[in-house]
């Protein structure tokens, strides 16, 4: 009996326990997903949402690569490796056979560089809306989070306007009402000038809500907002001014092209924003001047992440063992110093760029390979030919016999024999006897140069900027955590110099230029009379090489069609007109060192150099008017009839 009552009680309990309202049964709070109201209660959670938004920023060049979309011909599956984003425009040569298309094509598709990530814009808009509605965050946190999201949104619109011109300016998260009518969601393109105005006004609006802290580099600060404002205003000013050179690149509605009457207004804003940083109102930013060797010092600007570095303003940071690392050093380290065997040497700076670095007396001259009568000049050390030049040359580029991780690179193309012939081999390990001897010896460098031999330099140069000297940085497993600098103080100075120059304040421009130049060892100051448009163009090219600037600079000055005009280059083209803004640069040349072999001759064992076009280079870059603004995809055009097409397409 007792047993029965026990069982029946158990049964009743069981039945009663399962009696729950159906709605309550189905309404289970998710365990993996944080609901919006909950996520916006805790500053740490909000920061993690914001972290994702920071990670989705886009830069033209990036150390850890991009999604594939922008590079239709790239050989990889889903990500364009970081080094390729630095590898175009004849400033470098890609020493990876799968990427030879970069130097074999004769131009770029109209759809190249296309971005249209309104998913990201929507997420930013939602973040701003939700953070604004949050009630449990402290006012200080809330203001900063919203200001950061607005900064990121402005920065992304800036990236879009640089590539696409005017795009739809969406600042609210649009909601679809499921009515079947999508017309209210179809927004037309804003004017190009309106996009720039938006970036400038957003920067002005949020700059004082962001922290004023020099040591905060991977999150938005007042310095970052001002730097973005200065650059955006400068871009808008130059498009307004130089856009008149290409009247075909404009649309009647102003979606592409800015009226030339607006140029001075933009330049004034650019100068004011840059000067706000220069006069210290955003913190004590200054040029990095720490190491006694000026070339090492320049390289260290990109390597030093300590608080000593007050030059970097806003960076994309990486951290070893955190999952966010990049393979830039693995991909580009010198072959013989590689931590990873064959993974090396992809990005080879071109002679075109090397020739642009001027001599210490502020004059331009090609590297002296031949004397006046056409005979080769012999050098005892390979580095001697580069002596007496701008320190940024050796700071940006790893020269032949240059030092990395305590070792020297071994770059040479073969023996130049007395009879004029060349003794070389297909690989450094393939030994050959010199004439008159029988012992086989090494006849080319371990780091190149052999035509078509990938992962070793084919121009004679390796990249030094961002190349990480830390132990193990070249291993695939470890990777490198050198940061990518998006905005830095030297660029702010150059922006100020350009804006001042365009406004006719040439002495002011000269002052800013001289600050940047003296850090590079060019101690003879430029006088105002020396400051020309060509000087400004030149200074940006050498100071900001491989930082993702050359493409946008050449576009906004409307020089791209002149510099990349599709006509193959000769050596004469290469060595003449150095320092001219519209100098042709359609094919990446190399400078190949040879060892002279002529026993008994005083020059025996010395080095001579030859300008060579690497044999994989068969195309010549041709930038067409239709390339100035990337083509808008047909999916976008057919989904939204209010979008007008780009000019020339």
């Amino acid at each position: 009996m007792k047993k029965i009552s026990l069982i029946s009680m158990f049964a009743i309990l069981l039945v009663a326990g399962s009696c729950k309202k159906d709605s309550a049964f189905l309404d289970v709070p998710p365990k993996q997903v944080l609901p919006t109201e909950l996520a916006f209660t805790d500053p740490a959670l909000v920061l993690s949402i914001l972290g994702d938004l920071y990670n989705r920023q886009r830069d033209f060049s990036s150390l850890d690569g991009h999604p594939l979309k922008e590079y239709p011909l790239a050989p990889t599956d889903d990500i364009v490796p970081g080094w390729i984003t630095f590898a175009d425009f004849s400033e470098s040569f890609p020493s990876e056979n799968g990427s030879s298309y970069i130097v074999q094509r004769t131009g770029w598709g109209y759809d190249e560089w296309y971005i249209w990530d309104y998913g990201y814009i929507r997420d930013l808009n939602l973040f701003i809306q939700r953070a604004t509605a949050a009630t449990k965050l402290s006012d200080g946190d809330k203001t900063r989070f919203i200001a950061e999201a607005r900064f990121l949104r402005a920065n992304y619109y800036f990236e879009m306007v640089k590539r696409m011109g005017g795009v739809p300016l969406i600042t609210d998260p649009l909601a679809y009402d499921y009515s079947g009518n999508v017309t209210p969601l179809q927004k037309p393109r804003a004017k190009e000038s309106e996009l720039y105005d938006f970036v400038i006004s957003e920067a002005e609006a949020v700059k004082d809500q962001l922290p004023n802290d020099v040591n905060e580099k991977s999150r938005a600060t007042k310095g970052a907002a001002l730097a973005m404002e200065a650059r955006a205003a400068l871009y808008a000013g130059s498009i307004a001014k130089y856009g008149s050179n290409t009247p075909q690149v404009s649309l009647p509605g102003g979606e592409v092209g800015i009226a030339s009457s607006l140029a001075n207004g933009y330049y004034t804003k650019a100068l004011a924003a840059a000067q706000a940083i220069i006069n210290g109102s955003a913190g004590s930013y200054q040029l990095y001047k720490v190491l006694p060797d000026l070339a090492d010092n320049f390289a260290a600007v990109f390597l030093d992440k300590s608080s000593v570095n007050q030059e970097a303003i806003f960076v994309e940071d990486f951290k070893v063992n955190s999952g966010k690392v990049h393979p830039f050093t693995t991909n580009n380290q010198p072959f013989s110093i590689s931590d990873e065997g064959l993974d090396a040497g992809r990005l080879n700076p071109s002679l075109n760029l090397v020739e642009a670095f001027e001599k210490l007396d502020n004059t331009y001259a090609p590297l002296a390979t031949k004397d006046a009568s056409g005979n080769p000049i012999y050098y005892t050390d390979q580095l001697d030919i580069f002596a007496g030049r701008d320190a940024r040359l050796a700071g940006t580029i790893l020269l032949p016999n240059g030092s990395f991780k305590g070792k020297r690179t071994d770059v040479w193309a073969g023996y130049q024999l007395a009879d004029g012939s060349i003794l070389t081999s297909g690989d450094a390990g393939q030994l050959k006897p010199l004439p008159g001897t029988t012992t086989p010896v090494q006849v080319t460098g371990k780091d190149g140069v052999i035509n078509g031999q990938e992962f070793r330099t084919q121009t004679g140069f390796y990249i030094r900027k961002y190349l990480d000297p830390a132990v193990g940085s070249g291993r695939r497993g470890r990777g490198s955590d050198v940061a990518f600098i998006r905005y830095r103080y030297a660029e702010v100075l150059l922006n100020a110099a350009e804006a001042a120059f365009e406004l006719g304040q040439v002495p002011v421009a000269a002052g800013y230029l001289n600050q940047v130049r003296s850090r590079a060892g060019l101690t003879t100051a430029l006088s105002p009379i020396d400051v020309t448009f060509d000087r400004i163009v030149h200074e940006r090219r050498v100071e900001l090489a491989f930082e993702g600037h050359i493409f946008y600079d050449m576009k906004r000055w409307r020089l791209a069609t002149a510099v990349w005009d599709g006509v193959p280059m000769s050596v004469i083209d290469l060595v003449s007109n150095i320092g001219k803004a519209n100098k042709r640069s359609t094919q990446p040349y190399g400078l190949w060192p040879y060892k002279y072999y002529n026993p008994g001759n005083p020059n025996n064992g010395k080095w001579l150099f030859k300008e060579v076009l690497p044999s994989p280079v068969t195309g010549a870059n041709r930038f067409q008017l239709g390339n100035y603004y990337s083509q808008i995809g047909n999916d976008v055009l057919s989904a939204n009839p209010k979008i007008v097409k780009q000019p020339n397409q």
Partner: protein, 232 residues
């Protein structure tokens, strides 16, 4: 179970009946033609001047984009249907009719079989009576230039170039030698002479391809004379 003959037969039957084409036939109708001005062919640079074909009525709109050959010819393989042919703005060394500023005119094509349609355009200039000869490792050219557009749309000549190449693709981007004549140096548009030295060709060949092109100020694409193969 032993596999018997009728099992194999059954399996084969299933396999073959499962094989049905689930795809459309590839387009087979050929639309061909060339760029002409009053019946005269217009030469352009290979793969640089695009044209677009639209086939309306299928929901999403998007062009079939292709480019003209260097002799101005084009060809497309298409399905039967109605198409609209146009040339995008600021492309080609010629004017294309616009119905309103920025609105490009289209040519309607009802494609029912293979069809040839020459595209009539108005070039800024034409090269006439081009006479190209090779003599003593030189290519000499004599030609006249005809200014076609003389109204407000007229444009000046930026330069005239004589290009030679070892293959049949001859243009500013594809050549082994070229000479330029600046537009400002041209005093008379008739009997213009130019010459270019033939450089050493490796492996050697005893012929080159040559043609003359006009770069018009403010127009990206050049207009070319017919290609000639010169044996020397």
């Amino acid at each position: 179970m032993k596999i018997k003959f009728h099992h194999i037969l059954l399996a084969l039957l299933i396999a073959t009946t499962g094989c049905k084409k689930d795809n459309y036939d590839a387009p087979s109708l050929k639309l061909t033609g060339k760029l002409v001005y009053k019946g005269e062919a217009i030469g352009v640079e290979y793969n640089q001047v695009p044209y677009e074909l639209y086939q309306p009525g299928f929901g999403k709109t998007g062009p079939i984009s292709q480019t003209f050959d260097q002799n101005g010819a084009y060809s497309s393989l298409l399905f039967k249907g109605n198409y609209k042919f146009t040339i995008p703005p600021n492309q080609g060394p010629f004017l294309w009719k616009e119905v309103a500023p920025g609105k490009r005119d289209t040519v309607a094509i009802a494609l029912t079989g293979d069809q040839t349609m020459d595209v009539e355009v108005t070039p800024f200039y034409m090269i006439r009576n081009a006479n190209l000869t090779a003599a003593s490792s030189k290519v000499n050219a004599t030609f006249n230039i005809d200014k076609i557009i003389t109204d407000t749309n007229a444009k000046d000549i930026e330069r005239v170039s004589l290009y030679i190449n070892k293959t049949q693709f001859v243009s500013g981007g594809d050549n082994i030698a070229a000479t330029d004549l600046a537009g400002s140096a041209i005093t008379s548009l008739s009997n213009i002479t130019m010459s270019v030295n033939i450089p050493g060709i490796s492996p050697s060949q005893n012929y080159v391809f040559a043609r003359v092109g006009i770069k018009i100020a403010g127009v990206e694409d050049m207009i070319f004379s017919p290609l000639v193969k010169l044996t020397y």
